[in-house]
């Protein structure tokens, strides 16, 4: 017997470029797994964050550091636990960005599948020359 599960709609995630220090006890987060692919003009990060919806994602950029936080949706558990192997913690992971990344062009999106996709555009060689000066 096969069933086709229902799904809600996905949504774009807004990227907040701020120097805001992310709050919370580091022990209250787990580190999400990442897969990285590279194209000629951009780098793509996939972060495995099951349980996180678009409203639970927070990206912040402080100089060369990209912080990604994903907060799991709250789950109601009124039944008795029998067996548990899932990690219930929220997610957080840091990335160091080189000067080759166009920080202002970073975008992120999250569909229904719990896989956060972050696009890091590379600076072209022309714009890169001017950006060296601008480097934070």
């Amino acid at each position: 017997m096969n069933e086709m599960p229902k799904r809600p709609e996905g949504a774009k995630v807004s990227v907040v470029a701020s120097a805001k220090e992310t709050s919370g006890d580091p022990d209250s987060y787990q580190v999400p797994r990442v897969a990285i692919s590279e194209k000629k003009d951009l780098i793509l990060l996939q972060l495995e964050m099951p349980g996180v919806g678009p409203s639970g994602v927070e990206l912040s950029i402080d100089k060369d550091r990209l912080t990604v936080i994903g907060r799991r949706e709250e789950e109601v558990n009124t039944l008795d636990p029998v067996y548990r192997t899932r990690n219930p913690l929220h997610y957080r992971r840091l990335f160091s960005l080189g000067r080759g990344v166009d920080v202002d062009g970073i975008t992120a999106s999250l569909e229904n599948d719990g896989m956060l996709l972050i696009t890091l555009p590379k600076l072209t060689s022309e714009s890169g020359k001017s950006v060296v000066v601008r480097a934070v």
Partner: protein, 168 residues
């Protein structure tokens, strides 16, 4: 600029003998992206495992089982849920999304998977209900000795007939 050469060498799939990993700036090439020291809590063998094994929670009370699996990166029609003789089976194949196949690094395991969960024999198969939301598959299964009116999943019957799939 090639990201492959910029990833810390201890993170590449094959050992290069450089166990201390992180590259210094004297390569002359600023890294486009570097991972910080924080890594998933999994050990190395888990990262290298060939087969994906979704994490699962099982809850129960007198009337229901609720099973939740963390399975990010799927489409709902790629997930198969079956139940037979008290065994709940969740299976599928996780593949990278289109345009994301050329991975230079992956801690995420893309493979077929099958997770089997032994429940009691009193599960009410026709009442099973599955929802995939933000990478979490939640399956609710009524138990037979539950009193009152039972929900019958007429929609799923039609769906499986339309798809030409026979019910087991």
């Amino acid at each position: 600029m090639n990201l492959r050469s910029l990833i810390p060498s201890d993170r590449r799939s094959t050992g290069t003998g450089d166990q201390n990993g992180h590259r210094t700036m004297d390569t002359g090439i600023p890294p486009v992206l570097a991972l910080t020291a924080e890594m998933p809590s999994s050990n190395v063998s888990e990262l290298l495992e060939a087969r994906y094994s979704p994490k699962v929670d099982v809850y129960q009370n007198r009337d229901f089982y609720i099973v939740r699996l963390d399975i990010a990166g799927m489409k709902e029609n790629e997930l198969k849920v079956g139940i037979e003789s008290g065994f709940l089976t969740i299976s599928g194949r996780r593949v990278p999304a289109d345009g994301l196949r050329d991975l230079v690094r992956s801690e995420i395991i893309f493979s077929e998977f099958e997770q089997m969960i032994h429940l009691t024999e009193d599960v009410f198969v026709e009442g099973i209900d599955a929802t995939y939301r933000y990478g979490v598959l939640e399956i609710k299964i009524p138990r037979r000795h539950a009193g009152g009116v039972r929900k019958v999943a007429i929609n799923s019957e039609i769906t499986s007939m339309a798809a030409g799939g026979g019910r087991s």
